[in-house]
């Protein structure tokens, strides 16, 4: 009975952490879907989002929801600026050039942020510390409820945009075939820009939520979650939106179980072991279709 309780508790922790990975992985997978770029700077966009949220809370003394909204809008805009300045000029360049540029953008964001805010980790003010529900011995604390609630809302909004609006349809069309989409009257440059905006906005929310959850942020905080979100996106099948969510949740749960029952030192190893396994067993990911190369 006690074991079951422990497992359930780790599941709650894992789903919370996994929701954060899912939010970051969604941006990864959307951007990959539309321009086939592994955007290595995505984790750093998430970090910038966390800082914007931090300053909105500590300097402007806003509460959590307005801070999230400010971070979402400003970071979304930053994502569009990065795309315009760094990636758009390389639209017809070989993919490796764009990939290297993404690594450059990543360093640029990390060390520019460090210059302005210093490398010292900042402490997020404690929030919802005293809120918690206890269901049969399984504790869901306030931060976890915030994470689950906000993530659920964002996923519903995103699904709705992608499935039901003309912008979402244009995004899906452009990610299948950019050239044909253009011939249907779709301005693909604008759609690519919007995709970066939406992906970055989701990462920003993840950044603020992590700040609230772990209480600490620093300019290099984006590296590891960025990699993990990439693993999540590959696990679910890169380019596929529900895949990113499922991949993120699985990754979060595995990490929580490994931390809880083996040792937290192994949790990163577990994440990357998953990547290796996926690449060996099912390279297209859970939702991906195996496309056999024609010989």
């Amino acid at each position: 009975m006690e074991l079951l309780q422990q497992v359930m508790q780790q599941l709650v922790n894992g789903i919370s952490l996994g929701s954060i990975y899912a939010l970051i992985a969604l941006g990864y997978t959307m951007i990959y879907g539309i321009i086939k770029l592994i955007n290595f700077a995505h984790g750093d966009i998430y970090m910038v989002g966390a800082y914007i949220g931090f300053f909105a809370i500590t300097q402007a003394h806003l509460s959590i929801v307005p801070s999230l909204l400010i971070s979402l809008v400003v970071t979304g805009f930053l994502g569009m600026v990065v795309e315009r300045l760094a990636y758009k000029p390389l639209r017809h360049a070989p993919r490796i050039s764009v990939l290297i540029t993404a690594i450059g953008v990543s360093f640029f964001l990390e060390y520019t942020t460090m210059y302005f805010v210093s490398p010292t980790p900042r402490t997020f003010p404690a929030m919802f510390g005293d809120v918690a529900v206890n269901i049969a011995g399984i504790v869901i604390n306030g931060q976890q409820m915030l994470i689950l609630g906000i993530t659920a809302v964002l996923m519903v909004v995103l699904t709705y945009i992608v499935q039901k609006t003309k912008t979402g349809k244009a995004m899906r069309a452009a990610s299948f075939d950019t050239e044909t989409a253009q011939l249907m009257g779709i301005d693909s440059d604008r759609i690519i820009s919007l995709t970066f905006g939406i992906g970055s906005a989701l990462a920003a929310v993840a950044g603020v939520l992590v700040g609230v959850y772990y209480n600490s942020i620093d300019p290099l905080m984006g590296i590891m979650p960025g990699m993990k979100a990439f693993v999540a996106a590959v696990l679910g099948g890169i380019g596929i939106l529900p895949g990113a969510v499922v991949g993120g949740l699985i990754l979060g749960i595995v990490e929580a179980l490994v931390s809880g029952f083996i040792s937290s030192t192994f949790r990163d190893a577990a994440a990357f072991a998953i990547l290796i396994l996926v690449l060996l067993v099912r390279p297209a990911g859970i939702f991906g279709k195996d496309t056999k190369e024609k010989v």
């Binding site: 709705y160 003309k166 912008t167 899906r172 075939d177």
Partner: protein
């Protein structure tokens, strides 16, 4: 001729050392149905790519409804009223039949992202209109009942029809059809001819088509251009083209 809908003057397109199209002169008047024929590699599809902004001409001028379209992006040309289908079908194969058509309404749907997310304003009325118009197009092309099927699961002939339906959803003045009868049997080709005639009248279209099937070209086109090695070797009515010795030598001769 000065009021031609689409006009190309001395257009050349050079890829590396290869002249895909050279000194191409072309016009199509409003309401006309014109055919573009020629052996493989004659530059027919290159001409379509030039007209739709996929390629930019190396030299020469292209005007649509009196305005130059050189330098415009493909989506801008589509918004001005040129739509096309493809030789090798290029549907959004993983999306539903209905969504394929809805996507092509893109530039005619008037609501912003904010209106959509807040589920207010013109969002509902516009979505309803697009849905209705899309279903109407699908009915015309006998694709009703298959709205929710993935485009890739349709039979070949139906995919060809869906491509035309999708092109019409952009509300073109000029429709470019790239080998619409490719892979069709004689019966299907005959039905296609009737359909092309009908949509031309119903939508008030000007149509330019590339086709290898001579029964189709000679049967419905009012005027024909014959290309060979990137140059026009003949232009005229089907009767004139059939008798033209150059054409017989270059194109019809070999096939009888």
């Amino acid at each position: 001729m000065s009021d031609a809908l689409l006009k190309a003057e001395n257009v050349s397109e050079v890829f590396g050392g290869l002249k895909a199209v050279s000194d191409f002169n072309f016009y199509i008047n409003p309401g006309e149905l014109v055919g573009l024929i020629g052996p493989n590699g004659a530059g027919k599809t290159t001409a379509f790519n030039l007209f739709t902004g996929v390629y930019q001409p190396t030299t020469g001028q292209i005007t649509f409804a009196g305005d130059s379209i050189v330098g415009l992006k493909p989506y801008q040309i589509t918004q001005r009223g040129i739509a096309r289908t493809f030789q090798n079908i290029r549907l959004f194969s993983e999306l539903s039949v209905l969504d394929n058509v809805k996507i092509a309404f893109h530039s005619h749907v008037k609501y912003g992202m904010l209106e959509a997310v807040l589920r207010m304003g013109r969002y509902f009325s516009e979505e309803e209109r697009v849905e209705e118009e899309s279903r109407r197009l699908l009915r015309i092309f006998h694709l009703d009942g298959q709205e929710n099927e993935k485009a890739k699961n349709l039979p070949y002939g139906a995919q060809r029809r869906l491509e035309i339906a999708r092109a019409l959803a952009t509300k073109p003045k000029l429709l470019l059809l790239d080998e619409p009868a490719a892979g069709m049997n004689p019966q299907e080709t005959k039905e296609l001819m009737d359909m092309i005639r009908w949509i031309r009248k119903e939508f008030g279209l000007t149509i330019l088509l590339i086709e290898h099937d001579m029964s189709l070209v000679m049967g419905i086109c009012e005027r024909i251009y014959v290309l060979e090695y990137g140059s026009t070797i003949a232009e005229g009515t089907p009767e004139e083209i059939k008798k033209n010795p150059e054409v017989i030598r270059a194109y019809l001769g070999g096939e009888g």
